[in-house]
């Protein structure tokens, strides 16, 4: 008997009814129920199609379907429904069979971004999801750019290729990115360091805009980005997809292949990505040296030793080389001012080029993970996870005497993680989760650079324990949690004065966090959620000990070994309405007070070096408040026409100095209009299914409240961008393709974005047209 996997995205149970009729006589039946994954409501008008015998049915108002007179055999059953991601399930039929199928309905309603709080991983905390289709359709984009489709998420960039996500105004050391359940390690301190994750491996990317992330290692201050590869489908035949996208801006080629199979021994899936792009272009000129190369492979394996013991293994390697705009590499502040006064950056070339020279980054990120889950009984389970990561970062500057080939920064960070977790579901649906985690970070500078390191070598030991309790009643859901972390940091610094000496620091920090949440369902369609969370964050190594010239801030950066931990209190209030799929509405209000908020304070001092005078920045603490609102609404104007609006409003205040916090995104609107053809369009033997035409407009206002003393140059103006896309599933005979055509910044607007450091030097990227073709097999 085939074991069917329980999946996050779909859920399938096969029951063999009694008195199975073994049948060469073709009298078997396939029956089942189709429900909405999000709210368990039955889905009507789902088309069910058995590929091998071309038999089909449509579900009724209870979600029920039935196909009779089937011969015994192996079948692929396709489920499709307007507004849903299609599903394809493999099943062996040797008796009358009943299927229960959940379909991801909201995935398309909100254009790939769904609002859900159903997953226990997020408890009552507000989460938004980007689905598989949206991810694969954007194979030419990086993870951060894909995430900016979610309200409340922005990108802090250094050009278009280097981008890190900002959620509710926090980024870097203050948010956690989980790749396949493992907190992504790396040089989180750098504003010009992207998360080194291949988005194409993910089946879902979830952004938890929470108040305190208790279940995960890393920062507890609130938001978590969860990249989930998704489980391998229970499918004995080799299946997969191969896709290719060409993006005109940067003439970027991106190829992606995913292949998977469930064999008797184990289930496996391999995903590979290759990307190559050249100089991007603004409305008026090429951005010299902004190309990129990327090559990634991920292997996922799942083995069920028994009904109770499941093990999965994951190995991935991510390798990238990213060019940094040549004209943004500066020696001192005069260079920065010169650069800013120019219409076009220095080193702008007439010709396009794929060359990636210094300044550039070359980063490798490698992950190994082994997870074993043991079910004691139907109500209790244990999880054991072990993982190791290596983040190998080299940054190359333009240097004298052929030294441009020697990295100016070369860091190797090993991270080892071990976790034990216990979950118990009580019969009254209450859930208890508790766990122990330990994480070791070993960071070493490679002396090959010939430059004194900005970040010292260090070892950090982090051990934490948490307990979460979830209670579901008739109309309410409650979540409570507590966590404690012990952090030991052992750093070895080198003095900036001569003779050079080694100075050691050994610090122990205690982090405490707690959260409580309550969701109340006013009706089936309307619910409200309130969350409140407290967390502390110990100062990070860069905040404590960095010393030297930091090109990323165009100044001399000095750590402060006397910093205290940050203390954060965050509250959120969410209101969600979903009226019969005609209208959905999601509003999230948040308020976060961070006492002893650590930030880079520009000292009223310029330090003289042989390269001229540099401003001095020291890490200092203040009391900060960040508050805002994320709003998204979706209205079905006609059955085929969806209108969607997303708005993010955010303010950050330095309460002590009565200033605006820097690097907090400007308010922005995203408006989208999608028209979907319900019927299949045919041109001879070619059938177009799920044909969708979409347009979008993004309005970004001017960042307010930044004083001239807080920035090198004036804050850029507001801007608007317009885009359009066409997507369709194309069937030629038995072959299935997906065709996408997308245009970004169609009016070729010249603009600069507040959160892009390149705004000091150049405009942002101009028009782009991407064409993609993928084949499912």
């Amino acid at each position: 008997m085939q074991n069917h996997a329980t999946k996050l995205t779909f859920f399938l149970l096969t029951f063999f009814l009694s008195n199975a009729v073994f049948a060469q006589n073709c009298t078997l039946s396939l029956r089942g129920y189709v429900t909405d994954e999000d709210d368990d409501r039955p889905l009507e008008f789902v088309s069910v199609f058995m590929e091998e015998n071309s038999r089909g049915a449509v579900s009724d108002s209870t979600g029920f379907f039935q196909i009779d007179d089937i011969c015994a055999g192996d079948y692929h059953v396709a489920f499709s429904h307007i507004g849903c991601s299609p599903r394809r399930i493999f099943t062996e039929i040797d008796a009358d069979t009943l299927l229960r199928v959940e379909m991801d309905h909201s995935a398309k309603i909100l254009e790939g971004v769904t609002v859900t709080d159903k997953q226990s991983v997020t408890g009552t905390q507000n989460a938004q999801v980007i689905g598989a289709q949206k991810i694969t359709d954007a194979a030419d984009e990086n993870l951060t750019n894909i995430l900016t489709n979610i309200s409340g998420v922005s990108a802090l960039k250094n050009g278009s290729g280097i981008a890190k996500p900002v959620v509710h105004g926090l980024y870097g050391n203050r948010i956690t990115i989980l790749n396949n359940g493992i907190a992504q390690s790396g040089q989180q301190w750098g504003n010009d360091h992207s998360p080194e994750i291949d988005a194409q491996v993910a089946e879902k990317i979830r952004v938890v805009k929470g108040v305190s992330a208790l279940e995960y290692p890393g920062s507890k201050l609130g938001s978590v980005i969860i990249v989930e590869p998704g489980e391998i489908e229970d499918e004995p035949h080799l299946h997969g997809r191969a896709g290719y996208i060409f993006a005109s801006n940067g003439r970027t080629h991106a190829a992606n292949v995913q292949v998977g199979q469930t064999t008797d021994f184990a289930a496996w899936k391999v995903t590979g990505t290759l990307k190559r792009g050249g100089d991007k272009r603004t409305a008026d000129y090429f951005l010299n040296n902004t190309g990129l190369r990327e090559a990634n492979v991920a292997l996922q394996m799942e083995k069920k030793f028994s009904e109770r013991l499941h093990t999965d293994f994951y190995a991935s390697t991510f390798n990238t080389e990213l060019g940094v705009l040549r004209g943004s590499h500066i020696g001192n502040l005069t260079d920065l001012e010169n650069a800013f006064e120019r219409e076009e950056p220095f080193f702008t070339e007439e010709e396009f080029s794929y060359a990636v020279d210094a300044p550039k980054q070359r980063v490798g990120h490698h992950l190994l993970k082994l997870k074993t889950k043991y079910f004691v009984d139907a109500y209790q389970s244990f999880d054991f996870t072990a993982a190791a990561q290596l983040n190998d970062r080299k940054e190359f500057d333009v240097r004298r005497s052929g030294r441009s080939e020697i990295p100016a920064l070369s860091l190797r960070q090993f991270t080892y993680f071990a976790e034990g977790k216990y979950r118990r579901v009580f019969q009254n649906k209450n859930t208890l989760t508790t766990g122990l985690q330990t994480n070791i970070t070993d960071n070493t500078n490679n002396p090959e650079t010939g430059i004194l390191p900005l970040i010292p070598d260090y070892l950090a030991y982090e051990t934490g324990a948490f307990i979460l309790f979830d209670r579901i009643t008739n109309r309410s859901r409650f979540s409570f949690g507590l966590r404690y972390d012990n952090v030991l940091q052992n750093a070895v610094t080198i003095t900036t004065t001569t003779p050079r000496e080694i100075v050691r620091f050994n610090e122990v920090y205690h982090n405490y966090s707690g959260a409580a949440g309550w969701t109340y369902n006013f009706s089936e369609a309307v619910k409200a959620t309130a969350n409140v969370g407290y967390a502390t964050r110990n100062p990070a190594i860069n905040e404590l000990y960095s010393a030297g010239l930091h090109q990323g801030v165009s100044g001399i950066e000095e750590g402060n070994p006397n910093l205290d931990s940050e203390k954060s209190l965050k509250s959120t209030l969410a209101l969600t309405a979903n009226t019969a799929d005609k209208f959905t509405f999601d509003l999230l209000l948040y308020l976060q007070n961070i006492n002893d908020y650590i930030y880079l304070l520009p000292e009223n001092e310029f330090r003289l070096t042989i390269r001229g005078a540099f401003p001095v920045f020291t890490y200092a603490q203040t009391d900060a408040r960040i508050y805002g609102a994320d709003f998204s609404a979706n209205y079905q104007v006609m059955p085929a026409l969806q209108a969607k609006a997303t708005y993010s409003h955010i303010r950050g205040e330095d309460l002590t100095n009565q200033e605006t916090l820097i690097n907090i995104p400007a308010d922005n609107w995203l408006l989208q209009l999608d028209y979907s053809f319900a019927q299949t369009l045919r041109m001879g033997k070619i059938a177009f299914e799920n044909l969708t035409l979409g347009t979008e407009a993004r309005f970004v206002s001017r960042k307010k409240g930044i004083t001239p003393e807080q920035d090198f140059t004036a804050v850029p103006d507001a801007y608007e961008l317009f885009g359009a896309k066409i997507a369709a599933d194309v069937r030629i005979g038995k072959n299935k393709f997906r065709l996408t055509l997308r245009g970004d910044n169609l009016l070729d607007t010249a603009y600069r974005d507040y959160l892009n450091r390149l705004r000091y030097f150049a405009d942002d990227t101009g028009r782009n047209v991407s064409v993609g073709l993928s084949y499912k097999f």
Binding site: T334, Y416, P453
Partner: protein, 177 residues
């Protein structure tokens, strides 16, 4: 071993090993500026020294006194005095003359600097390691010496138009009497 360490949280045996103290070969610690009167007399030597590089202790700057209405031959020497003996960076600049250029900015008419046509790179464009400095009537001026890496070398003595990346930007106080 590391795993064991994590449970012995307060143990000192979990310390990170000592890093290698890097020999910063590329650093320029010292700029020596020698102005030799073209019609004879003792040369004036000015200097900028920052032995510990960026950050750390402040540099020391020594200015100079020039004669009024005179012409001087300026010559620049760049050293890395963290090495022993000191490494002469001037030769690196000379070897990559096409990628380097000095610029001179004076905030007062009493001192002006100009390129010497004898000191050019393979393309015939100025380098500036050797140049001329002319004084007029008595006064005082701040003369800024700028070395740019990969500038546009056709910009004459205009660093703003030339772009590139600043390797040196040092201001010498000069008295003309």
């Amino acid at each position: 071993m590391l795993l064991l360490c994590s449970f012995v949280l307060f143990s000192t045996s979990c310390d990170k090993e000592d890093p290698e103290i890097i020999n910063e070969e590329e650093v320029i610690t010292t700029l020596t500026y020698t102005l030799t009167p073209q019609d004879g007399g003792a040369p004036v030597v000015m200097s900028f020294r920052d032995l510990d590089g960026d950050g750390g202790n402040a540099p020391t700057i020594t200015g100079g006194t020039l004669n009024a209405n005179a012409t001087y031959s300026g010559s620049l020497v760049l050293l890395n005095e963290q090495e022993s003996p000191a490494e002469d960076i001037t030769t690196e600049i000379r070897e990559e003359a096409e990628e380097h250029q000095f610029f001179f900015i004076s905030d007062d008419d009493s001192v002006t600097a100009s390129y010497n046509t004898s000191d050019v790179d393979a393309d015939g464009l100025p380098v500036g390691l050797i140049h001329n400095v002319t004084t007029t009537d008595a006064g005082s001026a701040n003369l800024t010496v700028i070395l740019r890496h990969e500038p546009s070398k056709t910009a004459e003595n205009d660093p703003n138009a030339a772009g590139g990346e600043t390797d040196i930007e040092v201001t010498f106080p000069i008295t003309v009497q």
